[in-house]
Amino acid sequence: MIRLVALAAMFLALPVRGDEPGTRKRRTPPQEFGRVVNQVKKSKMGPVVFDHWLHRAKYTCRVCHVDVGFAMKAGGTDIRAADNASGMYCGACHNERAKADGGARIFAACKIPAPADAGACGRCHGVPGGEPRHQYDFASFTKDLPRGRFGNGVDWEIAEQRRLVKPVDFVEGLSVKRAPMPVQKDFALGPKLAGMPEIIFSHAKHTVWSGCEGCHPEIFTGVKRGTTKFSMVEIFDGKFCGACHVNVAFPLGDCQRCHSKPVQ
């Protein structure tokens, strides 16, 4: 236990790329954890400020990162207004036809270059020096959700199990009806460090959110179990588990959620 706490402290103290050497990393406030800021290239509009917490409560990871086609890395999609206007990317749902869980129509993405304070544009695009006028307030939205220790301060896994959030896994016009997934067994991965609890990996928990093609082979390329050697340095660098567990899913400081098998 002491080793685990010491390791957690060590990882939390690791400098992050972009930070000044010798300075402590600023812990991301819960409402900003999972935030993606996409700069706009060919317009005077402000950047799109996207918060994962709202969308992950309503849709599975797969819907957006497989069916809709958003890249796993921020800025990797190269979305243009014309794409949204033709019903792709944000426009797959933000089209005034698709309905949200409450039955209300989802506002349409702006179609032409316009000032950020004009109409719907300002709901996603920030004005210079300011943030977008988001419809949902983080504190109100998450107040009844189970608490988590890190990240958004929400335990999304329990929230989904208790059906407090019901992420939709199908978007009309883009998703395909898939064959049901056979039950996959959990398996253990040995840690590199002696004395660390083993990692219990649950395919079932991950596929609920991400499906298969969300991870294989783009993130986990190895085809033979046990041959890919993961290191925490690589994971903190955004590889392997870090592709999601650095910025969106529960963060890596929550060690025991993966290193969960008691040491024998």
Binding site: V68, G69, V176, G211, P217, K224
Partner: protein, 116 residues
């Protein structure tokens, strides 16, 4: 005629109007001759989507498929690729990436069997 247009000019105008009307009828969606052409184009347009849905519907149970089935699915993905590359840029970006993800997963399962 009442405005002093010669009869031969009237006849020419009538013939031109009739030809124009017939032309418009031929290309309008409701025209009997146009319907099969449009339906054909639509079927061709949606044909790739039907095939995409059929091919990529097996990603969740890919590990239960036989090698032959997986090879066949990979082949169908490759056949579908040129059709998707012919779409408009927005749709091409999305559907190409999806097709690639789908194909890569089937190939991944095949490779895992050989090397795993």
């Amino acid at each position: 005629m009442s405005r002093g247009i010669p009869p031969d000019r009237w006849a020419a105008r009538l013939a031109a109007a009739a030809a124009l009307s017939l032309g418009l009828l031929a290309v309008s969606p409701g025209a009997p001759g146009a319907a099969p052409r449009l339906a054909e184009a639509r079927a061709e347009e949606e044909g790739w989507l039907v095939e995409f849905e059929a091919v990529c519907a097996r990603t969740q149970d890919a590990m239960t498929l036989s090698d032959e089935e997986l090879h066949a699915l990979v082949g169908r993905c490759d056949q579908l690729k040129p059709k998707i590359e012919g779409l408009d840029p927005s749709r091409r970006k999305v559907w190409s990436k999806r097709l690639q993800q789908c194909r890569d997963l089937y190939q991944f399962v095949l490779d895992a069997r050989v090397k795993g």
